[in-house]
């Protein structure tokens, strides 16, 4: 009998469809994938050691570089953990501004993440470029308010760097007029396309219990059927004042993750609408003047604040020894933990599916390697 020979392929660090510098050592028997070993660390920048050398405020711009798609959300999470450590109160309007920025960032992240996944599936970036157009508009708004498109460095301890003015609000309203139209186009493009279904249904299935045991969070967890969303489970900022639904999948395959992310974009749109309605008047002091930012010396103690980033639960753990910079600074990156589930999820599927499963987990190497 002819013995078939297994092929070891190196889907290497520089490969068109690994999102960033990430390598997969794949053992393939014919087309089916027998074993997959993820190798990462190529983008390690010593982020946590930097956090201990820099003062609390100096570390804020470095958090932009973690998940470079959502610098607003990273800043928000870091600011929350320092505020929890130092017991700083955040004025109402600042919390609303932070929520608005988070939800805008969630829309742009899901738009591009789905675009990249469909690109891996072979849909030649049409969905991606529509997503990038919306992302450009949102980045212009971030640039208007924070000064930079991707490296916003916008949150401060006890508030935000600059207040939003009427121009920003009218422009965001205009953006939001176009969004539903974009959602319908995006959903109509491929959701029911037969080939997309063939490529996405029952691929990379992660059952509910296994998702919990892999401690996967975010859309991947919700797609497996676990309705866990930090904005609802442990409401922070002013999330407890908005009504929004938690989209949940049933099977937990690539198709469910695709649908959950589209539904989440619509929910983010709903939150934005309500946030703009309830936005308190200016003058509430967006930056808390009482807190001296750069010479902040929080009392000795530790704090862990977590935020629902589009990729999962993003947490910052800080231990302060009373001095100007942190004694221990740890980032709980959702992409890193979701990535550990990749190896087992891809087993048994075809080589082409491994790419799609990687795309459906939506990882950013900046966050994985820190």
């Amino acid at each position: 009998m002819l013995k078939t020979e297994e092929l070891r392929i190196n889907i290497g660090p520089q490969h068109p469809s690994t999102h960033g510098v990430f390598r997969m050592l794949v053992t393939v028997d014919g087309e089916t994938l027998v074993d997959l070993k993820p190798v990462f660390g190529y983008l390690h920048r010593n982020h946590e050691q930097l956090g201990e050398v820099n003062s609390y405020l100096q570390n804020m711009p470095f958090t932009d570089r973690l998940d470079y798609f959502n610098s607003m959300i990273n800043n928000h999470a870091y600011a929350r953990s320092v505020e929890m450590l130092a017991g700083i109160e955040v004025p109402e309007r600042a919390q609303y501004i932070r929520v608005i920025m988070d939800e805008l960032s969630r829309i742009l992240n899901h738009a591009t993440a789905l675009g990249f996944m469909l690109g891996d599936m072979g849909a030649w970036q049409t969905a991606l470029l529509w997503g990038l157009r919306e992302r450009e508009k949102i980045l212009d708004l971030f640039e208007y308010v924070s000064g930079a498109r991707m490296m916003c460095n916008y949150a401060r301890f006890g508030g935000v760097a600059r207040d939003i003015d009427d121009y920003f609000i009218t422009e965001t309203r205009k953006l939001m007029d176009g969004l539903p139209h974009y959602f319908d186009d995006f959903e109509g493009l491929l959701t029911n396309s037969e080939i997309m279904l063939a490529r996405a249904r029952n691929i990379g299935v992660l059952p509910k219990e296994l998702a919990l045991s892999y401690s996967v969070t975010g859309p991947v967890l919700r797609a497996s059927g676990v309705p866990y969303d930090i904005r609802r489970a442990e409401p922070y900022a002013v999330y407890d004042r908005f009504d929004f639904d938690i989209p949940v999948g049933t099977v937990g395959d690539v198709y469910d993750r695709f649908l959950v992310r589209i539904a989440e974009m619509r929910q983010a749109y709903r939150i934005l609408e309500q946030a703009f309605q309830q936005l308190p008047e200016a003058g509430g002091g967006h930056i808390n003047p009482k807190v001296k930012q750069q010479s902040l010396k929080p009392p000795i103690g530790e704090a862990y604040a977590r935020v629902e980033s589009p990729k999962g639960e993003l947490g910052f753990y800080l231990v302060s020894d009373g001095t100007g910079n942190a004694y221990r600074y740890k980032v709980r990156a959702p992409s890193f933990i979701n990535l550990t589930a990749l190896a087992d999820m891809c087993k048994g599927y075809k080589l082409a599916d491994a790419m799609v499963i990687l795309g459906s987990i939506d990882i950013v190497m900046g966050e994985v390697d820190r």
Partner: protein, 413 residues
């Protein structure tokens, strides 16, 4: 062409034949490569507009010199060959692919002008198209690279399994027109004032759809561009090629697409035939037929680009399943219905009951509408019935595959 050479230059027969065929070959090569260049520009612009951006508009007016810039760029790039690669095979692969593609232009009519009229035109196109696969296998094997080998194997498997539906999809047209030579197929579509295209008959339309889908796979267009699926295996069999050899692959790829558009336009959309072509006649008529022909070909290519911008790629095993379990049965049923179509329309003494029921078969310009109506009804019923049945079967099969029972899992089926 040969006679003109003989009279004008008084050349002996053999010199005239050599000159005539030489002129034709150069015309085809120039036309083909210019067509290829235009196609790359056309595709970039069309897909750009579909994605709300502009596409190349810097080099030359509206980016028209972009393909030339690319050609120069690829020529100046260093042409490397991998170390332990099989140098001869590595070098020959693009040659074989381009040769196969250019040969198919021998029988493609440009409007009403025919390079050479083989009595087996259509079969020749598909046969020579088969050699294209050979080049892919040589490229995959010659570059001594895992990705290339995988890409080559996949490409060949796809090509071989799509060649069969492609050939069989044309059989109904051959049946209806009674010949395989391209010239007569094109001429047979000039009825009804230039609009008697094959695509307007139900059998013809069905054959057009199947042929077009199968040739999408032959030309490696999405959703069948598995061989150079960049997301999985870097660039498939073209991974180890740079510089001029890569340009030759690229040229071969786009010329195949051009050939497919031309062939489909000629066989199904009555290449060159259109309202007012035979009234004008002579040079003007030929020119108008050329314009019609190009419009049809470009329309077909636009559909290819539209599909490429929308639809994701099929996985290899799904692709094979699609060819064998979906296209092939439909093609066979279409052959059956085309046979019925010819029987109902043309048979006279062979089947007396037809003439009793529907009357004598009409001639080309005075068709017997009763027979035509019955033929249309019968063929549509058969084709659509087959389509629905095959789709139902495939849906049920994929549903079943999704819920493999645990016992089967345990046995490791």
């Amino acid at each position: 062409m040969v006679e003109t050479f003989q009279q004008t230059f008084g050349a002996p027969l053999w010199l005239a034949v050599v000159l005539a065929s030489g002129l034709k070959v150069t015309l085809i090569l120039v036309g083909g490569s210019l067509g290829m260049m235009f196609l790359t520009w056309y595709e970039r612009r069309a897909i750009a507009y579909m994605q709300d951006r502009r596409g190349p508009n810097r080099v030359g007016p509206q980016g028209s010199l972009q393909p030339i810039a690319e050609a120069i760029k690829t020529m100046t790039k260093e042409d490397t060959t991998p170390l332990e690669a099989d140098r001869v095979v590595h070098f020959l692969a693009p040659v074989v692919m381009l040769a196969a593609t250019v040969l198919t232009f021998a029988i493609i009519p440009w409007g009403n002008l025919f390079p050479s009229d083989l009595s087996v035109g259509v079969l020749f196109f598909v046969a020579i198209g088969g050699l294209h696969t050979l080049g892919m296998l040589m490229a995959g094997w010659g570059s001594n690279n895992k990705f290339a080998l995988l890409g080559g194997m996949r490409g060949v498997a796809q090509m071989v399994s799509y060649e069969i539906p492609q050939v069989m999809a044309v059989i109904p047209i051959v049946l209806m027109t009674g010949t395989m030579s391209m010239q007569r197929i094109v001429e047979s579509q000039s009825g009804f004032g230039g609009l008697g295209w094959n695509v307007f008959t139900p059998v013809g339309f069905f054959a057009f759809a199947l042929f077009f889908v199968a040739s999408l796979a032959e030309g490696e267009r999405t959703p069948f561009d598995i061989p150079e699926a960049d997301s999985e295996i870097v660039a498939g069999y073209m991974t180890e090629y740079t510089g001029m050899k890569f340009a030759v692959f690229y040229l071969a790829n786009y010329m195949t697409n051009l050939a497919i558009c031309f062939i489909t336009a000629s066989i199904f959309l009555g290449g060159g035939n259109g309202p007012g072509v035979n009234e004008l006649g002579g040079f003007l008529g030929g020119f108008l037929s050329l314009i019609y022909f190009f419009i049809k070909a470009l329309f077909l290519f636009f559909i290819m680009v539209l599909i490429r911008a929308t639809v994701p790629r099929l996985r290899v095993d799904q692709l094979m399943g699609f060819a064998w379990k979906f296209l092939l049965p439909l093609v066979l049923v279409n052959i059956l219905s085309s046979a019925l179509w010819v029987a109902i329309i043309r048979w006279d003494q062979q089947a007396q009951i037809f003439t009793q029921w529907f009357g004598a078969p009409g001639t080309a310009d005075a068709p017997n509408f009763v027979r035509l109506g019955v033929a249309v009804a019968v063929t549509i019923m058969i084709n659509l019935g087959a389509l629905v049945m095959v789709m139902g079967l495939n849906n049920r099969a994929s549903q079943a595959r999704m819920h493999t029972t645990d016992e089967e899992l345990a046995l490791g089926l």
